[in-house]
Symmetry: C2
Subunit: 197 residues, 2 copies
Amino acid sequence: MPSTTTPALKRVLNAAVVQFARHGYEGASLSGIAADAGIRKASLYSHVKNKNALFLAVFEDALHSEARFARDCFARPDPKWPGQNYCESLLARYADSEHFRFLLRTAYIPPEPLFHELQEGYETYMQQLLADFTTALRRHVGGVLSDRDADIMGHAWMGMVDSLHVALIYIGQARFEARLNALEHLMGDSIARLVKG
Amino acid sequence: MPSTTTPALKRVLNAAVVQFARHGYEGASLSGIAADAGIRKASLYSHVKNKNALFLAVFEDALHSEARFARDCFARPDPKWPGQNYCESLLARYADSEHFRFLLRTAYIPPEPLFHELQEGYETYMQQLLADFTTALRRHVGGVLSDRDADIMGHAWMGMVDSLHVALIYIGQARFEARLNALEHLMGDSIARLVKG
DNA sequence: TCAGAACTACCTACCGGTCGGTAGCTTTTT
DNA sequence: AAAAAGCTACCGACCGGTAGGTAGTTCTGA
């Protein structure tokens, strides 16, 4: 793992995230990635050890990128309910971020040879997301939130997020927004009921 | 397409659904499928035209299998809220049905060469599921359900189902049940509020 | 000058798919 | 009844193509 990121390596990583996001781990070929980076396949090996290492490097980048995105969403105060900023930013994020599309493509069914390495990264990322939501929720409802209710709402919100992630992948934009709207209703109802006690 | 399903073809299809569910379209090899079926790769071509046709045949089987499963769930009356039977049967279904695992694996990111053929099948299956839920919902709340509310709850329930499907793939059994429990809370709250008006 | 990034050429392994041929059963023909 | 022909499922061998990866050489920039 090189500590310095040269411009050439940057081009390789950019090409790789595009190819992996578009065709997955198996479907993306090193020749294609090299071509997109403007070099030959053999020259890749001046920058990365092998395909696995390349994928892992892209994965690290993507995780950091998404962690920053989530942090920014939770830094802004949510207008109506905790976690709202994150959910409502997903559509634009999906359109803009190659790293996000990469993560969504490979998250649920990761490439078999890298399964264990990836699972750990996903796990801590999801834990962080859940922690962010929980603190936002506690701030929202004040001090009257039992651990059990926090747990339930946390699971529900993570489920909602997965549901929106999936919608980004295989449903069109129109139905994504309909789903988001519908789930916001459920979420709003339950949180309101929580606040009233 | 042979109209009669010989025992040998049946063995091939059984082997194929296992391999496709486990390794995906690209990751499953015809040699492996043939080996599981007890024959050589070349002999596969006495039963199916090529890999695409084999995958499509398995896909048809899986769709029919899941349609029957969903119909059975909605045939029984739901104890507390519409769609409950389906959601609460998913975990056992995932453990038991190779066809279900096959569908989950290939639903969100289908193999590129078959994208269009598959999308149509998924679409009609999902539409049927949504229709089943909507009629169950209408029966549950009585005549006081506006089209707009039915639409919202439909989107929410489909979102919940996707969320549970995803949970089956990459979360363990314990957290699946936690998520199911949490989402049932949201669903219950919103439907209760719908019934009261 | 010399390290490293690029190239050409090549390797092995595996993929989906085809080919010619064969064993064994069924059907037709004499 | 028996021989001849056809059919089905199977096989080993092989094809073209592509994958990831390596060896050895040349180019290039500080």
